[in-house]
Structures are given as C-alpha cells and as structure tokens.
Symmetry: C2
Subunit: 210 residues, 2 copies
DNA sequence: GCCGATTTGTCCGTATGTATC
DNA sequence: CGATACATACGGACAAATCGG
C-alpha cells in the first residue's frame, strides 16, 4: 500500500475525473496550481499526471494545459486490471464465480479452488511483479465444448501469460480461454513524438462468468 | 524525432538488451554506473529505465539492481506498435499488403488505398496523440466470408479504436477485423505495490495479410 | 509579426528513505 | 553494522509551445 505523495495525488485526481468534478474535455488546473493545491513539488505533480496520461485519463499539451479525455467504459463489462487473479476480479465486479479444477499437477486442488495468486502471495510471501500476456483466437477444443455452452461459436479468445516474481524468475504460465460473448479487452496507446508507436496502460477485459 | 537525452539512453539500452549485450536475467549496470556511462543526471537515467520497465524489458528491484527480463517475441508474428497504420506496420514487417476499399464515405478511395494516417498527418498536419482500443471476438459476417477465406472459423478478432488528436478531439473511429490464424496481441502488465493491478505498454499484434 | 505571460517538457543536483547484501 | 542499490521528493533552471495584447 503506497502512501507515496504522487500516488495519493494520482488517486485523488483520478477520482475527481471519474466523478466528473472535472468535465470531459475540460482542462485540469495547471501544474502550477496543482502544486499549490497539494503543497508539493512540481515533479510530484507531474508524476501523478504521467500515470493518468498513460491510462488514457488525460492528455497534456505543451503550452496549453492538461485535458480530461476520460470516458467511462461499458458498465456491463467485466473489468480486470493488469495483473489480477480471477477471484480478485470477480470480487471487484461483484459477480459469482466458480472455479472447477479439471486437470491438475503440482499444487493441490484446494489451493486452486481458492486462488492460486492468494496462495503464492500470502502463504509463500511471493511477490508478483511483471506479467506478459498474449491474446489469440483459437478453435474450440473438446474440453471447451464439454464444459462451456458456446452457443454456435467455434472459437474462443485465449490469453496466455507468463508471470515473473520480484527476483525476475518466471514462476507461472497460465492459459485462460474465454467465451466470445463475455470477452472484451481494452487498452490505450499514446503516440510518441518520434512519429511511431508506443504506449498503453489500462487494460480491461470481460470474462465468462464460470 | 525526440533528441531528448532520456530517449537516447532508452534506445541505447533497448538495443543492448535486444542484441544480448546484456544477457537474459543479468543485472544491468547500476543507476550510479549508468550516470557515469552517459554523463547525465540520475533522473534522466531513471526515466529511460522506467520506459523499459513499462515495456517489460527490465525489472528493477530495490536494493538489488535492474534485471534484464527481455525475451524476443515470435519471429513469425506480424508486429504492430501502439498507434500505427496498417501500411506502416506492413512496411516495418516487410510483408506485402493490399488494401481493398469495399465501402466508402467521406474520404476519397485514393487516399484510403494509400494510408489514411499518412494523409491526415502529412497533408492536413494533424497530430495523432491518443488511441483507445477495444478487442473482441465476433461472429463472421457475410462480408467477411465474401472476401476472406476463414478456413472453418466462424469468428474473427475485432479491434475497434477511437483516435484523438492533439486538441483532444476524437477524429476517427476504426474497426478492423482479423483472421484468427494471423492475429496475435501482446501486452505487459506491471503490478503496483498497492497490491492491485496496472501496467502494460508494449502491444503487438499479428494481422491478416490482406 | 512581435513580445510577454502562461503552461508543459526536459534536465540537473541534492537530500532522505528503504531494501539488500 | 556499513556499503550499495533503487524509491521518493524537493527546488531550480532553461527550452518549447501556446495565447493574448
């Protein structure tokens, strides 16, 4: 739990944006004013702003100011943040989730039925840091058809991820398969002045409920 | 074209990592050493490192150092950076691409056959800044089937994107539909100390060739 | 078109805190 | 314990873009 100043400012501004205390397309107070408001240095304000920009909340324009470009996402979407377990995501979205363990090795079924992430973090004191994900669309398998009513689709959205702990070792490889009707993935990209690519931060997705 | 110092350092380190001048899992020189190497301030070095971390190239560990966790992506993947036109992406990946204009309104067909982004940026001097994308899996349409051999799939990967220019106005809405066999989307997420989510930066995807 | 005020962008040096070894 | 490493924060400087007079 970071009590860092920049993080508090970041969350405060984020909240103000989400609750429309700053209107869409409106300019936020200038960095100079934010410094007065929060009583901190410019770097600290800028760090909070940078975070919001990378998540597509704001857009800062040299010589002009910082504009709120946040638009709320579909309320029906089942939202999952960056690295988060299915169980955490379910709780956050207040939906029922049931995990059925179909095949298993290594860990005990009891742990998997709860939350593997929870087990790794709380019981083993492991520190999850970086996750790399790949998203593809694949043909359904017999296992898919057996457990999920695909309603005519013959494909599923498949996310594979490698997770690294704080010692840089990859300790997990996951594949999750999602029903097309309940799947949605969002991201934000910011174009660098270089002319090419780069960016993105907030990622969300919609999942099948069980 | 940014000639910013942090950007040059960022690109230099990125290159050294990609060409394995720093081995996988190896520690990079400490920030202190990098300061000597590049003859700049610590902030500047740290900004370059932050960029690399957000793209999943490195992982910095307080008290230990900065570890290279870069692993090259599938060479067969058709890679597209953040905000980039299909034509730019094709050129970068040295593949043939043909654009067939099926339906049309507003812009002229000639422009679309070339590159709409090119037209907007070079001819109109427009400045593309932020792009929000949503990825879903959808049933094929009659149009899909008419122009693309789906080889048995009855779904496609669909990306819709809203693009904003430097004045914060959304000026474009695009939907692109991709053949499952030629589609891949990658991202990186970094877990905040807060305990929850957040992160991702490098995004790539594999596309259908025409 | 110029000039000055405002605003964001880049960079520096320094200080202090915290984690690792 | 001390040395090393990254994390956070401050204050100052100058550049670059914008806007109004």
């Amino acid at each position: 739990m970071p009590k860092a100043i920049y993080d508090m400012i970041y969350r405060d501004l984020k909240e103000k944006i989400e609750t429309e205390q700053y209107a869409y397309q409106e300019l936020l107070p200038s960095e100079h004013n934010l410094i007065s408001l929060y009583g901190c240095s410019r770097n600290t304000v800028r760090r909070a702003l940078a975070e919001l920009a990378s998540e597509g909340y704001i857009q800062s324009m040299q010589g002009k100011g910082v504009r709120n470009i946040y638009q709320p996402v579909d309320q029906n979407a089942y939202t999952v943040g960056g690295i988060e377990s299915f169980k955490e995501a379910s709780r956050r979205n207040r939906r029922m989730s049931v995990t059925r363990v179909l095949q298993f090795t290594e860990l005990t079924p009891q742990i998997a039925e709860g939350s593997v992430y929870e087990y790794l973090e709380e019981e083993l004191g492991m520190n999850i840091v970086t996750s790399k994900r790949t998203l593809t669309v694949e043909h359904v398998t017999q296992v898919d058809e057996k457990y999920i009513d695909l309603k005519g689709y013959n494909c599923m959205a498949v996310i594979t991820s490698q997770t690294f702990n704080d010692e840089g070792v990859q300790f997990e490889y996951t594949q999750s398969r999602h029903h097309p009707d309940y799947f949605q993935f969002q991201d934000v990209a910011v174009r660098k002045k270089s002319g090419a690519m780069e960016g993105s931060l907030k990622t969300e997705l919609r999942l099948a409920g069980a």
